[in-house]
Amino acid sequence: MTRFIAKRCLYALVSLFILSVTIFVLIRVTGDPVTLLAAPDAKEADLQAIRVQLGLDRTWPVQYLHFIVGALQGDFGTSLYYRVPAGTLYLQRLPASLQLAAAAMAVSLLIGISIGILAAVNVGRWWDSAGKLIALLGLSMPSFWLGLLLINFFAVYLGWLPTSGRGTAAHMAMPAIALSGYFTAAHMRLTRSSMLDVLGSEYVKLARLKGLPESWVLVKHAFKNALIPVVTFAGINLVLMINVAVVVETVFAWPGIGRLLFEGIEFRDFPVVQTVVLLGGVMVIVANLLVDILYAWIDPRIRL
């Protein structure tokens, strides 16, 4: 187990290294980074001064070392618009993103698991077809359009919910539902197939042969085991939700990381864009590592 964990950690470190090199190199091959880091109306003398100040006149390896040492100390550059460190901004916005992702996750698990199980239990019948249709719609509907539809209906037509901002549960309802759409469908499909697997297994057959009532078999034997893959998958999806929320957060002016990224685009605030992308990748790599380890802990066969 220790060897397995060590190996996974090494892989994760390699991925983090490649990630940082990718970001570093892409910025430099696509143009002059100074134009991204300075105000658009800066003069050539100012640009040269910034180059020297940021060390951009040195060789790439030296620059990379500078960049990575800074990043390890939490220094991702200074926001051009807010004039504060980009890392600080990121941490300020993180709680809002986490809150939204948690709410969206709750919605997607609640709806996804219940319809998924109904579909698996009634396989081939009405509930199953309805579930398939809902899943297909959920997977095909862009989250931001779902958000716009919700605003049109619940905020403009009915006037029930506020269209933007953060504060009360009413503020959170629409963004959470919009963000959860795709994931509800994904969780529904996974629950259905996992539940079908479990229902076809030997121990469920045995439980039925023992003469247990069907509801007891479903709840006590099938449900719990069918949920294992869904819950692990949900862990990764939570991290994804935080990072794909940019369009939904923009629609609802939700002050999270996605909104920060959008402001980064709007204000041509490159250090902020770079920070959000880099830390998003780091978050996914760490989450994958944790899931790998968790899986190996649950199922010893994987350690081979």
Binding site: L19, T22, L137, S140, F144, V246, V273, V284
Partner: protein
């Protein structure tokens, strides 16, 4: 034969057509056919100019709503541009960007996957670590990052989306190649003295192409949504082009005033195309590549 068993209008010709197309995914093919026709014949079908509107006809509702008129079937936007016209022209942008990006990503990813899987050892290690790292980057934010670096244009969007999505092909194709290269016919080809590149081209590539096609169909949908998202955020197709994502962004301002139709139809168009791509991908997956069924 009683009349009730054969509905009126079901001629033998229709039966023959139906027999030949049995099992074909009619719903997605119809949607794709309609969108393709819209894209090809936009200049003929569209009644107005897609980029220039009539400011006196701003925010006209769709024809069937009170206040709408039949010249603007789906209404107009905040600049008085006809929404139906923009939808038809927008189909061009979506399809061209979506298909080109998916094909370019597929070509790169398939080539990289074959090389990585066939050579194995350190080459495979290096390539797969890069693929892992790139896959970890959330697609939307990675695409935004590249878009900010490269600047907005249709050509750049294709480059950006291909750069973001090739890794998904590479991972799957590499896995297929690992098992293919142990097959008898590949070993015989080696014994027969075929060069490495010949084997990859003649013996490996034809066997992974089905997987690539299935993946492409599914990725076209993802790419079209990604393009719409980039355009919506202002780093995709530059205005005033009639990209569907841009139309949604344009409609956002007027929503509070009740102009719901500006945001309804472009999103519906995106959803239908993606739905068709998903359905077609699922069908092809079963048809072409039974091994991928659980994917």
């Amino acid at each position: 034969m009683r009349a009730s068993t054969i509905p009126f209008g079901w001629s033998p010709a229709w039966h023959r057509v139906r027999a030949r197309t049995r099992g074909a995914p009619l719903v997605p093919l119809t949607i794709i056919g309609v969108v393709l026709a819209a894209a090809l014949f936009a200049d003929v079908l569209a009644p107005f100019d897609p980029e220039i509107g009539n400011l006196r006809h701003r925010h006209r509702p769709p024809a069937w709503v009170a206040g709408g008129d039949s010249s603007h079937l789906l209404g107009t936007d905040h600049l008085g541009r006809d929404i139906l016209t923009r939808l038809l022209y927008g189909a061009r942008i979506s399809l061209i960007v979506g298909f080109t990006a998916a094909i370019v990503a597929g070509a790169i990813g398939t080539a990289v996957g074959i090389v990585s899987g066939y050579f194995g050892r350190w080459i495979d290690q290096v390539i797969m670590r890069v693929v892992d790292a790139w896959l970890a980057l959330p697609a939307v934010s990675f695409a935004i990052f590249l878009a900010v670096l490269l600047g907005p244009s249709e050509k750049n969007i294709v480059i950006i989306l291909a750069g973001v999505f090739w890794t998904r092909y590479a991972r799957v194709i590499r896995g297929e190649v690992l098992s293919l290269k142990e097959r008898e016919y590949v070993r015989l080809a080696i014994v027969a003295g075929c060069g490495k590149w010949t084997i990859m081209r003649r013996h490996i590539l034809p066997n992974v192409i089905n997987t690539s096609i299935v993946l492409s169909t599914l990725i076209v949908g993802v790419v079209i949504v990604a393009e719409a998202a980039l355009s919506f955020l202002g780093v995709g197709v530059p205005p005033p082009k009639p990209a569907w994502g841009l139309m949604l962004a344009d409609g956002k301002e007027g929503m509070m005033a009740g102009y719901w139709w500006v945001t309804l139809f472009p999103g519906l168009a995106i959803m239908l195309v993606v739905l068709a791509a998903n359905l077609l991908g699922d069908w092809l997956r079963v048809k072409l590549d039974p091994q991928l069924r659980q994917l």
